[in-house]
Symmetry: C2
Subunit: 168 residues, 2 copies
DNA sequence: TATTGTTATACTCTATAACTATA
DNA sequence: TATAGTTATAGAGTATAACAATA
């Protein structure tokens, strides 16, 4: 049975489109900064940032692919680029010979360190400048909750229900 | 030398990453729905949605390219696909022979009408289900403000862009 | 000359499926 | 059998620059 026909009111549509638009504009802006100043894509930056955050600068491929949005082959491609540029290394995990551990190199850390100020500057200028402190709080909490919800709700390989509306 | 050494604090980083992640996950989800149920990309959906909103279902190419984030050639590409599938038409503007007016067709409207329930369902399930009404309000307001701010902020490598006249 | 839109082209990125190897 | 990752491949999408037509 098709879901009820009026699920989103004007406010909801507003919020939805604003969210998508802000995300798109912001990503565009930071991507340009990353590309210009460090020849890095947004995805590559995310991977390096995640590795930087890790205690020992290491992650398994699967963990990275899980964290970043992409498929495994996509991550292999990006990791290959990063490795070619000397920003990460790949070694097989001694504990599980199937797995591959990606580690950020000193050059990788240096690049991130070099890019971060400009990056942060763009984000602050576009995203935080028009926000009051209280807005920021709410935004952080609300979006965090949404993120957790999305992450928890659809295991991304789940079969989307095909029975949507009458067949054909 | 970098302009401002003050980094983003934890809350800000949180909000920033959450925003990007939610945007990414949400776009992924709706794109899958649109592709599966209507063979439509997110950009194409946006174009059709904008045309649907217009009083007479028409927009000039430049206005669409301005609203959507992409380059003109990108819009030409997408508009070409939409036209090939009979979802829009393109005619030159009688008032300005340089301009091209894109109009949504009945088939285009029908497709949007068919896709909208499922689309809205995805958005509601992923984005609004974990939100209280007050959160939604804040989200809508705050993100709306951010969007306007970004739209108004000239990209530092600003290329001459068509400025919006006050009255159409 | 400036603006609108298209075309040609080259490139990046992503997804799918087949494949290898380990567990 | 199931899982981790790679490879091959194919396709979508995007940006840039050159271009034609109109203002």
């Amino acid at each position: 049975m098709t879901p009820d026909p009026a699920p989103l009111d004007a406010d909801q549509l507003n919020a939805y489109f604003a969210l998508m638009e802000v995300g798109s504009l912001l990503q565009h802006a930071v991507e340009q900064q990353l590309r210009t100043e460090g020849d890095l894509s947004w995805v590559q930056f995310q991977v390096l940032a995640r590795l930087t955050d890790a205690p020992d600068g290491r992650h398994r491929m699967t963990d990275l692919a899980d964290g970043v949005v992409y498929s495994r082959s996509g991550l292999t491609y990006q990791a290959g680029l990063l490795e070619k540029n000397g920003l990460v290394t790949r070694e097989s995990d001694p504990d599980d010979e199937r797995a591959v551990v990606v580690a950020i190199t000193d050059a990788g850390r240096a690049l991130i360190a070099r890019l971060l100020p400009g990056h942060v500057d763009v984000v602050r200028r576009l995203l935080f400048q028009p926000l009051r402190h209280r807005d920021l709080d709410t935004l952080s909490q609300v979006l965090g909750r949404v993120r957790d919800h999305i992450r928890a709700t659809p295991p991304r390989s789940a079969k989307p229900r095909r029975s949507r509306g009458p067949a054909t």
